[in-house]
Symmetry: C2
Subunit: 296 residues, 2 copies
DNA sequence: GCTCGCTATGCTTTTCAGGCATGACGATGA
DNA sequence: TCATCGTCATGCCTGAAAAGCATAGCGAGC
């Protein structure tokens, strides 16, 4: 039995579903399923009642649940105890993040960093790419997550690219499709991010549309958490969004991939060449999250 | 951070030495060293002060120690809680062990089994090989650890072989050596196990000596935990022992391997062909402890 | 009966704990 | 002062197991 098992077990018990818990834990459902079986086998107790609609605690599981939660809380407390007793100087690392990242992901990232680089206190600053680039250059940020390829003596590594897509009203004719072309957006009322939010992507999107002679009725806004309200206020047919980070903003709206991939919102990690060791370690952990390079 | 790290950490803190703790945990010192480094790195706190004579807790480590012990105790309690709440029928598995196995090893084995086959309660019965064979055949034991190759429709798997050796008085002429031959024992007063204890090995040893025309002054006794007393009571020059399980009986006496390997005390795991599933699972875990076959 | 959402299983890939060999370093004793 | 010993650390390799991917099975609800 390892703490891993307890973390998984508690997540499932809380979510009452393996699939959802797996998502939350950032792993796949089969993996989770097997870990729990292993735990059950080791304990000699069936912890969950698996139904087709979800997963419920057995009496034994319920008893175990309280202990498990206590254990995890205590584990956190131990970390704290070690810290406060040891006169460790936790170094502060300032990390910039672009607006529009999902809060869950940020929370998860902070957890990961606390796990892997215990002696770093990571401070988050939200700013767009241009601001972050400036701040990193001026030494006001240690690390930045930006959507522009870094230049001018800044170190940078590509993390992942998110293809643009379009979210359309559920009753829209395009709603049945999974892909569409820029051309098909001609004449539609389109809500897209303002230039200030993700400058590079904004410019590329406008350019790609222009190049194809497509002229949607653009409306630009600084929507982030209020995409739905913006869309309804402006009576848009569709909203241009990027994949992972923004689809959740309109969970009810079908999402269509832009077939031509005119824009790929790439996220980079940037930092100054000369930096502290702890910053390098944090940078390494974040770099480890990069998706494998797409096959040519 | 995993429970593994805590177990390791606590062991080291208790032993005040990584090497000794590693031995106790049945793993190597480098492994342990790295795990602790990893834990320290993750916590961001140096837990131990490494000196050339051992390992001492830092203030941070001391604070962490109390929490860690509490955590491990709580982890055990969780298992119990799950058991008593779940109406699990813990099946009893009766396991026979030969006299002379080190108590530490038996404790370790029971811990391993509890970890890996949680729904089994393993009951230990100490008996010599002949008795165990009979008991397994009669169904009074589920599994047996014996020193004879099983016959007559019993399943069996070889676990490990222990070469015989001789422990000699510290002031004996042979004491500087690391090996000796049977021939060199000629005329010495030798204390060996009685035939009842490990029949097969006893017979083979006597036969091997006879075959080589060697006639030591044999004295046979049922010594186990009192080898020292027996040896002194009988004024022996040397005592015949097997490697791991029995060397500890005379920690101060130098131990010489028998060069000809006339006898190799092999331990087998035996069980009836038709048995319960839980017994099979326990058998599998124990079989997993078998040493890799020695190269030809 | 069909689809949908949930969990389980078979397989492959990848990660990492562990082992072995060896190095560095201080303590101890000749 | 130097050799020896016992301590912990490091490099390299292997093997176990965790995680991923694809897919099957299965009950609920339409």
């Amino acid at each position: 039995m390892e703490l891993r098992h307890l973390r998984y077990f508690v997540a499932i018990a809380a979510e009452r579903s393996m699939s959802r818990a797996a998502e939350q834990l950032h792993l796949t459902q089969p993996s989770l399923s097997r870990q729990i079986r292993q735990l059950e086998h080791e304990l000699g107790v069936v912890l969950f009642e698996r139904t087709t609609t979800g997963t419920a605690l057995t009496p034994g599981g319920a008893a175990f649940y309280h202990h498990a939660r206590l254990l995890l809380r205590l584990a956190d407390a131990s970390r704290e105890a070690a810290h406060s007793a040891g006169e460790t100087t936790r170094e502060v690392v300032d990390l910039g993040i672009p607006p529009g990242l999902s809060p869950e992901w940020v929370v998860w990232l902070l957890g990961l960093l606390r796990e892997q680089v215990g002696d770093a206190s990571v401070l988050i600053t939200e700013a767009n790419s241009a601001e972050q680039l400036r701040m990193v250059r001026e030494g006001r940020l240690d690390l930045g997550l930006v959507h522009e390829r870094p230049v001018r003596a800044l170190n940078g590594t590509r993390l992942f690219g998110q293809p643009f897509g379009v979210a359309v009203r559920p009753d829209h004719p395009l709603a049945e499709r999974t892909e569409c072309t820029l051309r098909e957006l001609h004449g539609l009322r389109i809500l897209a991010h303002g230039r200030e939010q993700v400058q590079a992507a904004h410019d590329a999107l406008i350019a790609a549309a222009h190049e194809r002679g497509v002229t949607p009725l653009w409306r630009f806004a600084q929507f982030s958490e209020h995409a739905r309200s913006c869309a309804e206020a402006t009576e848009s047919d569709a909203v241009v969004l990027t994949e992972n980070s923004a689809r959740r903003l309109l969970p009810q709206w079908p999402w269509l991939r832009l077939a031509e991939d005119p824009v790929d919102l790439t996220t980079w990690l940037i930092w100054q060449s000369a930096t502290r060791a702890v910053v390098t370690r944090v940078a390494e952990v974040i770099s480890g999250l990069a998706e494998p390079a797409t096959a040519p």
